[in-house]
Symmetry: C2
DNA sequence: GCATAGTTTCACGCGTTTCTGAAACTTGGT
DNA sequence: ACCAAGTTTCAGAAACGCGTGAAACTATGC
């Protein structure tokens, strides 16, 4: 379990004094770092979380430039990060007439974001796993029925792969349910629960 | 040492020929690779997934040795991996009388495993995030009320941080519900659903 | 058409993470 | 007590992912 990922940045700074630009509010620093951390746990890059957060917390679209200085990143990093965020549909480029800068704003519907990620990434993973498990099961049948090498082993193995399949399929259902509800309805929040056996 | 006997042939294809030990069934290879992949997505190491899977698919406890040769790993890697898996409580060392080897077996209740990971890792992350968000909110109040620098920015920011907090708290509830149900009841599987607004 | 400002792309380097190989350690047998 | 077989630990090597900096590209204004 790679615990790492931490790096809980203490307010105390060594001489490398990365003073985070006067325009970055304390609250923004705290929140963007927290979300950055969380993003890492979720398999994204830290800077994606930090950039998105600043945009989300801003009352107006920001220029790449502003992000660069507030987060102390290189222009390249900002550009690539924005690109990735845009590909995930969680950040949008907006134009302003009479201004040749590119501005960016965050998708402000959290549920839209989440359902998108679940749909495009988590779901794909689960589908892949299901497929692989089915393949494994097929390979087992093929192998077991001709060479009766180890019946107990084959039997247990079939059982267990089927368990895994069941779990994976449940995962798929859960994701589908979440995606579905997230899309149409944001107010089910406090009503979350699981079916209880009757 | 004791591999021979089996793979008498082996026309030797590419020299990088990672032949995966005759004792590793095709089905085992497929499934353990798939689970290994999934584990990576979940933030664990690939080999943890592969090792756990072999144990889970086995009808009897295995020795570190057997894992080493089936997965083509060094003894050190196997040992460390088993250690980590044991710390997560998903693999157990078992002893057999009159046999001085260490044997290992997988926790066979998938839900026990999952609820444990959710409880110890995911939940901790969410709690941390909630805490950070609350700190951010506090920092914002502190800052905003004395220096009335940018009222709109402060207002929006407060709103958005509160949104994030709401989401994080929902996440916590969902995790708690999952953990709770997973612990006491394995048969709610097909009954999963979300509350629908009435 | 050229100069200027802003943005994107990309090869490289750096810091991490993961694995290996070998040495140290344990345990049971003789 | 010593040996043999197995296991764990650890320093270093390889692999990997990420961000930088500079060059290429684009668009605007003169």
């Amino acid at each position: 379990m790679q615990e790492s990922a931490f790096d809980a940045r203490a307010p105390a700074e060594s001489e490398s004094e990365q003073l985070p630009s006067p325009e970055l509010w304390e609250s923004e620093r705290i929140v963007s770092d927290a979300i950055g951390r969380l993003m890492v746990v979720w398999g994204f890059k830290r800077n994606m979380g930090r950039v998105w957060t600043l945009l989300y917390l801003s009352d107006e679209p920001l220029r790449a430039d502003a992000l660069r200085e507030r987060l102390q990143l290189s222009a390249g990093a900002v550009s690539m990060t924005l690109g990735e965020l845009a590909r995930w549909g969680v950040v949008r480029k907006v134009f302003r007439q009479g201004d040749r800068h590119d501005y960016y704003e965050a998708e402000s519907s959290l549920w839209k974001m989440i359902s998108r990620v679940l749909r495009e990434r988590e779901r794909a993973e689960v589908l892949l796993a299901i497929e692989a498990l089915e393949d494994g099961l097929a390979a087992l049948e093929r192998f077991a029925e001709q060479a009766v090498s180890a019946p107990a082993r084959a039997r247990i193995q079939r059982e267990r792969i089927e368990q895994l399949l069941e779990l994976a399929r449940l995962g798929r259902s859960m994701l589908d349910a979440l995606i579905d509800h997230a899309r149409m309805d944001v107010s089910w929040l406090p009503r979350f629960r699981l079916g209880r056996r009757t």
